[in-house]
Symmetry: C2
Subunit: 445 residues, 2 copies
């Protein structure tokens, strides 16, 4: 049996019945009536598609027309909107989305990889066909950041968009912070609990955040999506010593995605960052995400919420469907895709900001003087210095010992990354440190 939709119903095809796909079906089953009242017309799932028809998903799927091929569902006369929840930048997801647009169907997708790689082209196709391409669920799960940037900030010039865009990394950093345990140990535990994938590189390496950031960048600055140029650093090298020193200096370490307009272009970067402890962003712990925007009219704004999971992501998918049901349209990337400007990358070496530096310094005469002079050569001035003895006691800096290395932590004033890296390279070459320096950028909120 298949669902018969009333004349003015919006008919939905859902491709991909994983966590989010099933979340969408459950949400529609639970709130379909109120949704119809709110949008003025029924929204009805008519067709579905997934790889394995026989898998038990805890849902009665007999009411829906089954498709084995997502492209076939995408083109089907039984649907008005194609919801792509398959995932992956190419393959069936891309084929099906392209087929849907070609057939004049609206598309809703949660697929950040697809958008990060083919966003502008797909948007252009959607615009030519006069259909919607909505992707609220692709960035930060249940947080309505796409709508806010496309609609609420229509009258604003945005200078920076940034945030905590990956729940797994934030969960790991939060637990390292709370428990003082090393990265590898917390990661293993997170994997055991299902908070991290068996292959965690995509999340902890910063690539997932980079996908999302590249979409936000395009929305913020009217530029073509440029995922390949995002500077990406993961959280693998963060140690309990960094987290402890950060705390002492008034900071928390967060994996941030930041897109910033500068004089030389746009910085797109994902990296661990020091953020002031007594800010709302610093309190965003666990799998929670947040996105902040600096806009010339609205000022600084932050949205905090659940960045993943069946229900929050389904909530965003359904909000996109509600817009389509109401006939409300906005260009996928706010301005017509053909008007998106080429992305001009600002070099990371031109980045300016404060830095946290942790060195493991051989405790011998002259070592610290040599380090300080390397900093001075590059015109870097220091805001604070902490030297720690092995016992963990804090001491004034006075290199009177010999031999075994001592951790030295420094916070610099605003400087250029090029200078910072040159100073660190020189320090390493001088042979006063027994391990590569740790460098963490400070992000002013």
């Amino acid at each position: 049996m298949t669902v018969t939709a009333s004349a003015n119903a919006l008919r939905i095809g859902v491709a991909g019945l994983g966590t989010v796909g099933c979340g969408v079906l459950r949400l529609m089953a639970r709130h379909g009536d109120v949704l119809a009242q709110r949008t003025g017309r029924p929204i009805v799932v008519t067709g579905i598609c997934a790889r394995d028809r026989r898998k038990d998903r805890g849902l009665d799927l007999h009411r829906f027309q089954w498709f084995d091929d997502p492209v076939e569902l995408a083109r089907s006369d039984a649907i008005d909107v194609f919801v792509e929840l398959i995932g992956g930048e190419n393959g069936p997801a891309r084929d099906a989305v392209e087929a849907a647009l070609e057939a004049g169907k609206h598309v809703v997708t949660a697929n950040k990889a697809l958008l990060a790689h083919h966003g502008a082209a797909l948007a252009a196709r959607a615009e030519e066909k006069g259909v919607a391409l909505n992707f609220e669920a692709a960035v930060a799960g249940g947080i309505p950041i796409v709508k806010v940037m496309r609609e609420s900030l229509a009258g604003n010039d945005i200078t920076r968009v940034y945030g905590i865009l990956n729940g797994t990394s934030n969960y790991i950093l939060s637990r390292m912070q709370q428990e003082g345990r090393p990265f590898a140990e917390v990661l293993a535990d997170a994997q055991a609990r299902g908070y991290a994938e068996a292959d965690p590189a995509f999340d902890i390496g910063g690539f997932d955040a980079a996908h999302k950031l590249s979409i936000l960048t395009s929305l913020a600055f009217g530029t073509q999506v440029s995922f390949d140029t995002v500077y990406v650093e993961g959280i693998e090298r963060i140690t309990p010593a960094d987290i402890e020193a950060a705390d002492e200096l008034g900071y928390r370490i967060k994996l941030l995605g930041v897109a910033l307009k500068t004089d030389s272009g746009i910085e797109q970067r994902v990296h661990p960052a020091m953020v002031a402890k007594h800010t709302a962003l610093a309190q965003v712990d666990g799998v929670t995400n947040c996105v902040a925007i600096d806009a010339d009219q609205a000022g600084s704004m932050m949205l905090i919420g659940r960045g993943a999971g069946a229900e929050p992501t389904a909530s965003s998918v359904v909000s996109d469907l509600a817009d389509i049901a109401r006939g409300n349209r906005v260009a996928p990337f706010l301005i017509p895709a053909r008007n998106l400007k080429p992305y001009t990358r600002a070099q990371m070496r031109a980045h300016e900001g404060g830095y946290y530096i942790r060195l493991s310094v051989y405790d011998r005469p002259g070592a610290f003087a040599a380090i300080a002079s390397r900093m001075a050569e590059q015109g870097i001035s220091l805001e604070s210095i902490v030297q720690r003895r092995k016992g963990g006691a804090r001491d004034a800096v006075h290199g009177d010992g010999q031999g075994a290395p001592t951790p030295v932590v420094m916070i610099t004033h605003r400087t250029m990354e090029d200078s910072m890296r040159k100073a660190l390279e020189a320090i390493e070459k001088d042979g006063h440190v027994d391990a590569p320096p740790q460098m963490i950028r400070i992000e002013r909120l």
Copy 2:
């Protein structure tokens, strides 16, 4: 000279040229071009209206057609959208909005008092006429909470909406917190700096927050706006002693507006509340606002941003205009106004939660035992008790002294407000306290 708008331009009339009105004109002058690109058509201010034509507003107003009477502007053939920035629940603002709707003009307003009192009726009229009634700027300034609730959460059942809705109160509480100074002193200073009105009662008494809350309640629960039933308590009675004790116990004191669905109806309340110190909401200081939502699908979500001021409020007005320019429509209160349910008020005495209690207890044998037994009679159990000596030192409770009153601070476990009030009435009647008890509700975030 008047502006000639191109054929497909959206023509705007702005009534009220105070802070926000001038902010809108400046924003349109600065970003008009990009706004046209983003919405697909020019948005052009054609008519303006204010009380005093000769006042210097630092703007060149000669390009616009001047109207002395807002009702005349509202009905003018020169406009498609009437932007009401006059203020006030009745009088010219209401007259002009009604006239605009009657004439089939879209309406954008920042007027929370108007909506709190006449929201449902105006929404019904707008729906009959098939025009928009948008009011993003009426709640929390630049924070796009109306859009998020009307559109992004369309597929959600909301159980609670709450937040810091008044910047003046939050500014005063933040400074009391940071400086340890008493309310009256900080208020006077805030007035001198222009952060508080000469007559501050509307802000610090909680009424401004109540206006905004009543609108959020309607959006969250699909109920008729019911401002008169909001329980309102201001911040006048908060003392440095409360703020200090809160800090010690792990809390910050914030003036919250809370709308909560309960078994017996909806609680709408504005009052000072204890919130856990290590939460994002607790870090929202100064004039910043925030709104949080508990939704069944999206989960817990929070928006933080600037709650007032020319630019943030203008940003919200212009986002409403952009929606109208694009032809995007949503019912003012999410569902058709005729379907809004009557508001069923939950009695404050039925409120359940934890409480902070500060008593000034005569330091004599038996006083504390009497207090404890009054609590026990009402079935109230205590989570923590702190007794402070005059010197400020913290001591175990052991009523061994005599005479002069000692502050005693208690945190209760979850209890019913009726029980709490009865216990406090009995304690006061017993004569062991030399001042009325301080009672502050604890809000779980």
